[in-house]
């Protein structure tokens, strides 16, 4: 006991003078421990199976799950899933998330599986998914770094199979925030749709809060299949290469700065490898379609032969890096999007006409013949390489965007599926509705301005629009050449009214599970 005390005293004696010298010479103030941002504990339930047909004797099981999170400090959340009626083996692909601060150390997760029975069948049964008679899967999830201990054995970001009379397959992830105020992470793989045997390059770059590349970050890293495969410090970009095998791979890019106070992740993505008979292939799949904005990129018939056209696959990454992955707001929400390539082709045309041309030709969009089969998609993006103006068709859930100006894709996404009107003058599309970005009456604009943190005097007329109506907005348009003002004016940054509408839909989409 005394020896330990002596050792401790010795350490103090030896370190103190050094610390004092450093403090005097460098003028270093004592630095507080970094305040780490919340992380997200995510449980994804992949499979449920009644192995012994023991849940319902006269019919198939009616599974549902109850997932409970507890951070031990009063923050608790419990989620009951929907019921999958009459199926012995289901693939729910349902996820539940919980925000927790790394200062808590760990979060307890309880995962119960049940068979929904009416009173005729004796009430609900508890599915037997844990060997040894435990009533539920009980896991303590260490937060940073992620690690699991409990009634199951396995690692973070991997399938965990737990079974006795019944079986559950699930994944536990601990995710950094997709963004903090001063940090984003831009990351993409190429080739965008690799074939087996292709060398795939994943390049990750740390960006600042405005979406500009940083010179230096604390850490930029890449995980593949949940395992860290590349990491750098003292720079802002890392590259990882590997050979594509199998049908798919998954990866996640992360960045940290300011001692961990700034953090960002792409969230895990799954990428399809190789040819398929499916209607569409995921090039960036982040999660279940009922909780994601699903964007299907379709080749324009004037530009590309089809979805396997090398030019199409070459053009798309640049369009993404300058578009969805080049804008700080969409980067901050990149985990809310699934990106697909569609098998079908579509067409967008808009012949140019001089200003003042009477009855100018309209923008025309021709959907794929089988577009009704793409019901999972919130929107289809017709990618073209011929430079003409673009448009969106809400009623068809399609837009076109030129690969030569990648930010057009974000502008058109503002129209569909986010429902924003144009804010430029004079021949855009103007309409109003719930949480609008343009208003038919100045008074409505002024009344709504404080809701987005603006003074009523910020409201301005859009000018003499060709629809012969008068429209107002409080989003800015300086009109200055070379100044990008607003997403719905000139493909600039998202401003307050744009952000409100995007945020509303993204929030209800990712948390509601009732569509997007």
């Amino acid at each position: 006991m005394s020896g330990r005390r002596q050792v401790g005293a010795g350490v103090v004696v030896r370190v103190l003078p050094v610390a004092l010298v450093l403090a005097v010479v460098g003028g270093l103030p004592a630095r507080a421990a970094p305040v780490l941002p919340d992380v997200t504990v995510r449980v994804t339930i992949l499979e449920l199976e009644d192995l012994g047909d023991d849940l319902d004797s006269t019919s198939d099981a009616d599974f549902y799950t109850v997932t409970r999170f507890d951070d031990g400090a009063g923050r608790v959340a419990e989620h009951r899933s929907r019921t999958w009626d009459g199926q012995e083996h289901v693939h729910p692909n349902t996820e539940w998330s919980f925000a927790a601060n790394p200062a808590r150390g760990s979060v307890h997760v309880r995962l119960g599986v049940f068979d929904d029975d009416d009173t005729f069948n004796g009430g609900d049964d508890r599915a037997d998914v844990v060997p040894g008679g435990a009533e539920a899967v009980e896991v303590d999830v260490a937060l940073r770094p992620c690690a699991l201990t409990g009634t199951v054995t396995g690692g973070c970001s991997r399938q965990i199979v737990s079974a006795d009379g019944d079986e559950i397959v699930f994944v536990v992830d601990v995710l950094l925030p997709t963004a903090t105020p001063g940090l984003r992470v831009q990351c993409l793989h190429t080739p965008i749709w690799p074939v087996p045997g292709a060398v795939v390059t994943i390049r990750a770059t740390a960006l600042d809060g405005a979406g500009a590349p940083l010179a230096v970050a604390d850490r930029v890293s890449t995980k593949r299949e949940g395992v860290q495969v590349a990491s750098v410090t003292g720079t802002a970009t890392t590259t990882h290469q590997f050979t594509a095998v199998g049908e798919q791979f998954s990866y996640e890019c992360e960045a940290e700065d300011a001692g961990g106070e700034q953090a960002a992740t792409t969230t895990p993505r799954t990428v399809r490898v190789g040819p398929t008979a499916d209607l569409a292939v995921p090039i960036v799949h982040t999660g279940p379609g009922d909780r994601r904005i699903d964007v299907v990129v379709l080749p324009d018939t004037d530009a590309y032969v089809g979805w396997a056209d090398p030019d199409f696959l070459w053009d798309l990454p640049a369009a993404l890096l300058g578009g969805y992955y080049g804008e700080e707001f969409t980067l901050a929400n990149q985990g809310a999007f699934n990106l697909w390539i569609g098998r079908s082709v579509a067409d967008i045309d808009w012949p140019p006409s001089p200003p003042g041309t009477p009855n100018p030709p309209p923008c025309t969009i021709t959907p794929p013949e089988d577009w009704d089969r793409y019901g999972f998609a919130e929107v289809g993006w017709i990618l073209h390489d011929d430079p003409h103006r673009d448009c969106a068709r809400g009623a068809l859930r399609l837009f076109g965007a030129f690969d030569g100006d990648p930010r057009i894709s974000i502008h058109e996404t503002g129209h569909v599926p986010f429902g924003l009107a144009d804010e430029y003058c004079c021949d855009g599309g103007y309409f109003t509705g719930e949480t609008p970005n343009v208003y038919a009456e100045l008074a409505d604009c002024q009344a709504d301005a404080p809701a987005v943190g603006r003074a009523p005097t910020a409201c301005r007329s859009l000018g003499a629009t060709t629809d012969m109506q008068t429209w107002f907005t409080s989003d800015p348009d300086t009109g200055l050449p070379g100044v990008a003002d607003d997403l719905m004016v000139d493909q600039g940054p998202l401003q307050a009214l744009d952000r409100r509408r995007w945020t509303n839909l993204l929030t209800s989409c990712t948390t509601g599970g009732g569509g997007c």
Binding site: N93, V281, P417, D427
Partner: protein
């Protein structure tokens, strides 16, 4: 059997632990460090995209003139469909149950809005997630209140008739058999009451469960005889797995006047839901008969 499966699970878990134990590379300053190249643990079970056709959706193609017109095409598609929450247009789409209660409702843009970027569309397409509860889709222009109702039963029935093995559809084979609990003929006097038990057996040879609606009817070749019966109400089984079900009904006969006649008892059962495909409609009805003689009162 369970132990075998548990043992396999344990092996799988061991493999997972081994995979987890692969050491992560340390961080390097200013250069990339490649990690293990033999990562084999899959992150998800299903390959995304392979299940896109696993959902079912009803797609309506509607021309607005300017009021929403009858759809010129309604189809049932093999696709997942998610309700679009982002639109703020003046069109409301509502999915309704048979009793008129709302399953879900959402807004959609006006296809006739015209501008340079929003040229009018000839038609709007509305995708509605299929549900067994779905009976009607209502498209309403909230500005005028004009609306059109589209019943979904027809398109579901046509889909299942063409693709009876689809997971949405149920193949059923209902076959009733009806017989008397007490063999006839029966004799009774005017003013008397006679109870005749009738057994009804209903079989569902499946392979899928049925939602049964049926009835037993009585009619007679009376030859001048009159009598009354107490008829059972409609017979129903909301969830009838393949197998058999029995009812016993009691008919009460009375004779107002003397005479004789032959009484037919018929049972007819069917699954009237749109998802049901009756694989043998020829045997959905069965009859039996008995003779009655009414003697004068003493």
């Amino acid at each position: 059997m369970r132990r075998d499966r548990a043992a396999l699970t344990a092996l799988a878990l061991s493999a997972a632990v081994l995979a987890v134990a692969v050491p992560s590379p340390g961080a390097a300053v200013g250069q990339a460090v490649d990690g293990p190249r033999d990562v084999v643990v899959r992150h998800v079970v299903d390959v995304p995209g392979t299940d896109l056709a696993s959902g079912r959706a009803i797609v309506l193609r509607v021309r607005h003139t300017p009021d929403p017109a009858e759809p010129h095409a309604v189809s049932l598609e093999r696709t997942k469909v998610y309700v679009r929450r982002g639109d703020s247009g003046p069109v409301e789409v509502a999915a309704l149950r048979r009793d008129g209660t709302v399953i879900d409702r959402w807004r959609a843009p006006d296809p006739l809005t015209t501008s340079a970027e929003q040229a009018r569309d000839d038609e709007a397409r509305y995708g509605v997630p299929y549900s067994p509860d779905l009976a009607v889709v209502t498209i309403t222009d909230t500005r005028t209140g004009a609306s059109t109702d589209v019943k979904t039963e027809g398109v579901v029935h046509a889909f299942c008739a063409a693709a009876p093995t689809d997971e949405l559809c149920r193949r059923v084979d209902l076959a009733p058999h009806v017989w008397l609990g007490t063999p006839g003929p029966f004799t009774l006097r005017v003013g008397e009451r006679l109870q005749v038990p009738v057994h009804v057996q209903l079989g569902n040879d499946g392979p899928d469960r049925a939602e049964v609606a049926g009835a037993v009817s009585v009619h007679g070749i009376l030859d001048g005889v009159g009598f009354t019966t107490t008829d059972p109400t409609g017979l129903a089984l909301p969830r009838f797995e393949p197998g058999h079900h029995w009812w016993t009904l009691t008919y009460e006969l009375t004779c107002p006047v003397p005479g004789a006649g032959r009484v037919f008892v018929g049972a007819t059962f069917q699954d009237e839901s749109a998802e049901a495909v009756e694989t043998d409609p020829a045997d959905n009805a069965h009859n039996t008969w008995f003779d009655v003689r009414c003697d004068p009162a003493p």
